[in-house]
Structure formats: structure tokens, C-alpha cells
Amino acid sequence: MFELERWEEIFDTIRKNKLRTFLTGLSVASGIFILVVLLGIGEGMRNGISQEFQNDAANIMYVYTGVTSKEYKGLNPGRRIQMKNEDFNYTALKYQDDLEYKSSLFRIWSGLVNYGKESGSYRVEGVYPDYQFLENSGMLEGRFVNYKDDKNFEKVVVLGKKVRDDLFKDRKDPVGEYVQISGINFKVIGVFTDPGGEREESRVFMPISTAQRVFGGGNNIANMAFTLQPEDNFEAALAASNHFSAEIENQLKETHTIAPDDDSAVSINNSLENAKRFYDLMDMIKFFFWGVGICTIIAGVVGVSNIMLIIVKERTREIGIRKALGAEPLSIVGMVLHESIFVTAIAGFMGLIASLLLLEFVGPLIETQYISNPAVNFNVALTTVFILVIAGAIAGFFPAWRAARIKPIVALRDE
């Protein structure tokens, strides 16, 4: 294998059979290239879709109440269950060590907001400061609602980016300006952006205490949102959040006298449950791209095998000549394999390098919604190169072995 003479003979053959070498190399290189780019795009889709789904904190839980559907302890079905501040405060206090962020929300139904001549109808909601993190909102200007606002019943609002764009047509800095909500002046303290896009950015937040007092909400709340402290892995996080949501549900049912098996009165939207479906989708995408990738490899292997068969066939006469001149069968097999392994390995690495360069330099430029930062695991790519090289060698071995065993007289007769 490492004899200089053999290498010289191989290089000689390669140099003088450029087309054959080129075609073998091309099929290997393109196979690897396609595979690596496909895997890269698959990874990019994974990243892109993850980002798309990350508009809320991944482990957020929303608690809603609705209408009872079952008679319980002498109470009729059809009662509307209204959550109160106490429900939120109790939960927040009881689970304060487990919770990362927590907020209740009070919804103002007449959400007409106007500034000067511009007006629009938006979701106007009273929230706690934590809500910013529950929604994964980022601040474009100013700040979010804080505890002091809440404590002092400040009449301040935070506008979504879409709301600002609608109302402040002249692109004036809205911070410090006053907008009217249902005719009442509120001072704008900030503008937020939300990864959820326009729908999430056409909301207006104010301190929940202000909202309840100004809009006559008493101590009613529309829903509660929580996130738990992060866990080490997905399974643990899922277990913790299922446990937590079950406990809240029980507690709410107890306080509001709801039948334990009444599903419609309290609903908890556990985004981690949704996240599980999302991760399943990710796995499906991954499987799909692997499937496509494996098919590509198979196609590549078949291509390489084909070429090896043709090469050996084409060289049958040459093999006969070499045998007549004293070549041993093993040296014939060695010659064919040595050449094929050398060519496929070099071509494989060239395909690998080309595709990695493409992913490296073109990848970051891709800015579609569902593909982001395509990349590929280098070891995986390297493995595929080896698979193809070995497959090429095996595919080359059998015809070479057969050719080496043909009697020289038969091989020489081959025209």
C-alpha cells in the first residue's frame, strides 16, 4: 500500500485517464456535496422553526377559567368562574421558589386607543412587570411597566411596535407623549417588540392595578401566566410543569367549588406540552433529512459501484496484458482498489470542503423565515465520506477480483 512504486504506477494511470478519474470523482464529490448541503439545510430548518416557535418563553403556562359544565355540591352547571387577585397571589406566594416569572392579566374590553387624530382598537391589558419576560418581549424604546407603577396606580402604558407605527405616523418618539384609552389619558413609557410578530405587537400594556381601578375591574383577572425555574433537561421540565399545572388546577377547583372532573371550568395551556409536539416535529424533520441523506448516499454508492464496474470492464484487456507480463492476481486487485480508494477519497474530501465552504459563507446570508444558520456536524460529514470511500472500494473489489481471476487468454480475447 505504501510502496513508492505502486504510487507511481497509480499516479501514472490517473494522469493518463483524466476523464475516467474525473467522472468517478464527480459522482463521489457531488454525492457528498448534496448530502452535506441537505443535512445543513435540515439543521437550518430546525434552527429556523425553533426560532419561529420561541415567541413565548418555552415553558410558559396560561391558566384560564370558563363556565362549569357539571353540578357540584348543590351548585348548578353553567356558572362562570371568575379568577380574582387572591387566586394569583396565593399561587405566587405558595410556589414562589418554583416560579421563574409570574403575572396575572386583566383585559380591558373597550380597547380604543387614540393619539391626536389617529386611533385604533387594540388589545389593552393590565399586567405585572414579569409579563415582559413571559412574552419574551424586547424594548425598542423606554421601559416596561415596573413595580412602582403598579404600586402607585400610575396611568402609564407600553405600546406594541405596531401600535406605535399606527398612531405615531410622524415617527415621533412616543415616550413621554399621552394617548387616550377610552378617553382617559395615559402616558407612554415605552415601546416593545415581540418575536411573535405583528399580532403580538398590536397590544398595549398597563399596570394591572391601574387597569383594575380605572376600568372598574374590581379584583378580577382574566388569566394567569407562569414559567417554572429551568430544569436540566426537557423530560424533567415537562414533568415539573405537568405537576405544577395539576396542582394549580386542583387548587382553583377547590377555591371555586368546581367538580374535580369538570374540564371546561379551568383550563391550563401548558406550552411545554405544545413544545413536546414541536420537538416531535423537529425530530420528524430530522428523520426526513436523514432519510433523504441516506438515499443520497445509496444513490452515490450505486453510482460509484457502476463506475467501478465499467472501469474494471474497460480495463479487462489491460488486466489480461498485465497478467501475461507477470502480474499476480493480488497485484491487479490492489492496483484497481488503490486507484479507486485514492480517487474517491480525494473527491469525497473535495465535495466535503466545497459543501462546508458553501454552508459557511452562503449559509449566514439566507434570511428566510424558516431557515436560519444552516450548519452540519463535521463528524457526520466525515463519516459519510468514509462510507462512500469504503462502498466504492467494496464495489470495485468484486469486479476487480473477478477480472484478476479471469484467465489471461480470455481477458486478452476481450475486444
Binding site: E5, R317, E318, I321, R322, A327, S331, P408, I409
Partner: protein, 233 residues
Amino acid sequence: MIEIKDLHKSYKMGSNSLHVLKGINFSVAEGELVSIMGSSGSGKSTLLNILGMLDEADEGSYTLDGVAIKNLNEKIAARYRNKFLGFIFQSFNLISYKNALDNVALPLYYQGIKRGERIDKAMSYLEKVGLADWAGHLPNELSGGQKQRVAIARALASDPKVLLADEPTGALDSKTSYDVMNLIQEINDEGRTILVVTHEPDIAAMTKRIVNLKDGRIIQDTKVNQVRAQQNV
């Protein structure tokens, strides 16, 4: 040099068996130039292939330079071919992508000789056949006669005991044929044993002994007065 006794060979053609060689007894001494003649189907090429270890006999014994050629595996056959035999074919059988020099050097590669020495030796044999100036040319840039001379140089390169030529002039016109025969005679003059298979009487007349084959048997084996090819050129 060559000693064969009671050689039989048959080929299976579907259900029929074709008995090609029906007991050949034949020997060749060192330095002889023998032509094997016969019409097509007489078994002359089969005989040559068996002598060249390219094919195996069914029965009979074959001794080459005192070595019994029997039950050879591929590896040993290859080694013997390389050491004892040089082949000259009707269709030249040069490797098309190698130039004349590399073609001549190929048997030396299989003898395990280093590249530098290989090239020197090959060059000296090319000179011998008068093609030193054509060393860098590929076979398809050479005329038929030149190709056959390259093939002869290649056959000589491994310094074999016996040269086996299968219709060496079969693909050449008569003038070139005589050129090639002249070369073969010169090589024989140096003492090398040569067997030529041919069906052309004028070529056979240029050897020292004619063996006539018919239907797988030797019907005639006569020493002749050699006609020098030089006279015809």
C-alpha cells in the same frame, strides 16, 4: 528447453466437447527458432497458450527449462510467465495509455525493479529494436510495425528463456512483416529460443524448423534451411 509429452486439451462447447489437442509430443532445444503451422482450428494457438501458461492442459506433462509446469496457481503462473516467457501477440496488446517506454518497462515493474533502473533497461531494449526516438509516443501514434517492435522489446525486457509469438505478422503488410521477422531472426541469432505460430508459409520459411499441426496432432516436424528475412527487405 521445452519438453511436452502426450498433451491433451478439450473445450466444452455447451453439451459438446471439442477435442482440440489430441496428444502432442514435442520438444524444443535452446536456441531454436520454431514455427508452428496449421490451418485455423488445428490447435496451434491453443498449443501456444498452453506453452505460455495462459491456458492449462487437461492431460500430459510440460517441462520448461527443467521446471515441471503443473498444477500452477495463479500466483506462481504469473511469476513463471514473468521469469521464463515473453509474449508477442498478433494484436500487439500494448497498454494504450502508456507510452512506448513505459510499455516496455512494465514486465520489469512486475519483477520489482526500481523505476530508474527500469527506465534504463527499457530504453536499451527500445534502442535494440530501433525505436529509441519513439520512446515517448503512445501506441496509437505508432505504425503497426513500430507497435510490434515495441511489443518485441517488451517481450525481451524481462530477459525470458523463451519468446512466444502468436501470428506476430498477422496484422502487418509483407514489407513490415519481413522487418519484424528480421528482428526476430536477429534475436534468435543471439541464442534466444523462439516459437512462432503462423499460417503463412513464407514466414514459416524464415524459421529453422517447421512443425505442422492438423486436427490437434503433429503431422510433420522438419528442420528447414532458414530464409533470411533480410534478403526480402
